[in-house]
């Protein structure tokens, strides 16, 4: 195991334009041979106070094979344009209201159909997992999209540690319920706490990521710190934030958006340009930040990840299971 000496020091601050960020990173990768780089103590930043300037830098390896080549959105766009109803329904609310959110100490409960269950500290959850950077597309169900350089590790690696039994057909995730800290939870906009879920094969898919950072740093609170889910071929609302509970279940969990409007949001929520939302089209999307007043771009089946994930749904009617 090697750690790039001081590599963290020259990782970007929030004002670094992505081009510069990526060119620096490429230089580093070239100098160090990224493939063999693993992280040590990569999560030191999690316990720190989270003003934007004070986010901890992470140690990670760039996973080029699982990253898209498209230019990522700016740090500013990614951290100021968020759907995170726990902190308000306006896109700019989370960046404002989540600043004082406490992400340490943080515990995650593991329960259900698994041999190993119990409550674990965030440090226990994260310790064995080397971090990697993956640049993924993010497609919101509201027909806008971004490209985000996430830092995280495969969810499968985490789940396997708890030895799910043969009854574990689904995985259910829950966000923290703390109305004192999360003003949105004091409103009835959604049912709280937020619940999301995946079929076990989706959860075990190598693309499914537990994210703890972006742009080389600890996740800002508004992006779901300290632990969030990223499923790049599904609509963004599947990517549950501030996870405190992971449960292996035999039946499909009742997820928040599907429960709130089952005719509009399904359990699967795979990105699908040919199945429209009842009230708007999903055929195209607006890429945030790219060519401000430029044309919308076509939405790709499974958000462009069809070759990797379409097999999970062979034989399923995707109009019915939307």
């Amino acid at each position: 195991m090697r750690t790039p000496p001081d590599s963290t020091k020259i990782l970007p601050s929030e004002i670094t334009p992505y081009r510069e960020y990526f060119s620096r990173r490429d230089l580093l990768a070239a100098a160090l041979g990224t493939a063999g780089v693993h992280s040590i103590g990569g999560f030191a930043g999690s316990a720190r106070a989270q003003s934007p300037g004070a986010l901890g830098a992470l140690t990670y390896a760039h996973n080029a094979a699982l990253s898209v080549a498209e230019p990522p959105n700016s740090y500013r766009d990614i951290t100021t344009y968020n759907n995170y109803y726990e902190f308000g329904t306006d896109k700019s609310d989370p960046a404002e209201n989540a600043q004082k959110f406490r992400t340490a100490p943080w515990n995650v409960s593991i329960s259900g159909e698994a041999e190993v269950t119990g409550t674990f500290t965030l440090e226990d959850i994260l310790k064995p997992h080397p971090l990697e950077e993956r640049v993924y597309r993010l497609r919101c169900v509201e027909a806008w999209s971004m490209v985000v350089p996430w830092i995280g590790f495969p969810l499968a690696d985490l789940l396997k540690r708890f030895k799910p039994t043969s009854k574990a057909k689904f995985v259910e995730f829950k966000t923290l319920y703390d109305p004192k800290q999360m003003p949105g939870q004091r409103t009835g906009v959604l049912e709280w706490p937020y619940v999301e879920g995946l079929r076990i094969d989706e959860a075990m898919h190598p693309l499914t990521l537990m994210a703890v950072g972006l742009y080389g740093k600890t996740l800002p609170n508004q992006n779901g710190a300290p632990l969030r889910l990223i499923v790049p071929w599904k609509y963004g609302f599947k990517g549950i934030k501030a996870i405190v509970s992971i449960k292996f279940t035999e039946r499909a969990p009742r997820t928040t958006w599907a429960g709130a409007a089952s005719n509009e949001y399904g359990f699967f929520a795979n990105v699908n340009p040919s199945v429209d939302h009842p009230r708007w089209s999903q055929a195209t999307e607006r890429r945030i930040g790219a060519n401000v007043f430029g044309p919308r771009q076509p939405t790709l089946p499974f958000n462009g990840y069809a070759s990797q994930v379409a097999g999970l749904y062979s034989g399923m009617d995707l109009r019915k299971y939307f």
């Binding site: 500013r76 766009d77 100021t80 344009y81 109803y85 329904t89 896109k91 700019s92 509201e142 806008w144 906009v189 959604l190 709130a260 409007a261 429209d276 009230r279 708007w280 089209s281 607006r286 945030i288 930040g289 401000v292 007043f293 044309p295 919308r296």
Partner: protein, 216 residues
């Protein structure tokens, strides 16, 4: 009425401010300039679209406030501004539609038609806009004279337009209906007031008639 001579241009400029702000924001967004830190945020097209939509509703509401204000204050002052506010509702509605057509739909008329037929909230919005246009065209004093009583009848369309407008907003909100609900409550008050007034004057009328037949 000296106040009005000065008041009108001032109110006119004030009504333009939201559009000016968006214009500056748009120029900032394409990096032509950077004035006053006015930003349209990460999704400028949506910001333009939604802001113009909101101001259309705001001006519809303001227009509908003028008659109750007249009754309440027993002053004709308010009616001097009614046409201007109505025309600003049309102005922001046309901006809203143009942004939708040119920036959101990239000017593809085929897609626009698809959207109108397939999506009820767009159908409703289009209906509101199309109904607003004849009101704008007949807003001149000349048209008012020519149409006589029909003018009043025609311009009652504003009630339907306001309902369609709020409905259009309500139907596209993902989940948080608080804002459209606020508009709906305001509109209920404004239209409810008119219904109440109508009822009352009808009752008065029939009472008078009754009194007359009684006397005869």
């Amino acid at each position: 009425m000296r106040q009005i001579r000065w008041g009108k241009p001032l109110v006119f400029l004030a009504c333009l401010l939201p559009a000016l702000r968006l214009g500056v924001g748009a120029l900032n967004a394409v990096e032509v300039m950077n004035i006053g830190g006015i930003s349209l945020g990460a999704d400028p097209v949506k910001m333009l679209l939604h802001t113009c939509g909101r101001w259309t509703l705001n001006f519809l509401m303001i227009t509908l406030c003028m008659t109750p204000l007249r009754d309440l204050t027993r002053s004709m002052f308010w009616l001097k501004f009614r046409r201007m506010f109505g025309l600003f509702a049309l102005f922001y509605a046309v901006l809203h539609f143009s942004i939708y057509l040119l920036l959101d739909q990239n000017g593809r008329l085929g897609d626009l038609w698809q959207d109108i037929v397939k999506r009820p909230y767009i159908t409703v919005g289009m209906l509101a806009l199309l109904s607003l246009i004849p009101l704008g065209l007949t807003s001149t004093a000349k048209a008012q004279r020519r149409l006589g009583r029909d003018w009043t009848r025609l311009h009652r369309l504003i009630y339907a337009i306001a309902i369609l407008g709020v409905w259009h907003f309500w139907w596209q909100v993902k989940k948080d209906i608080r804002e459209p609900l606020l508009y709906a409550c305001g509109l209920t008050l404004l239209l409810g007031y008119r219904l109440w007034k109508e009822r009352r004057s009808l009752a008065r009328l029939s009472a008078e008639r009754f009194a007359r037949t009684d006397a005869a």
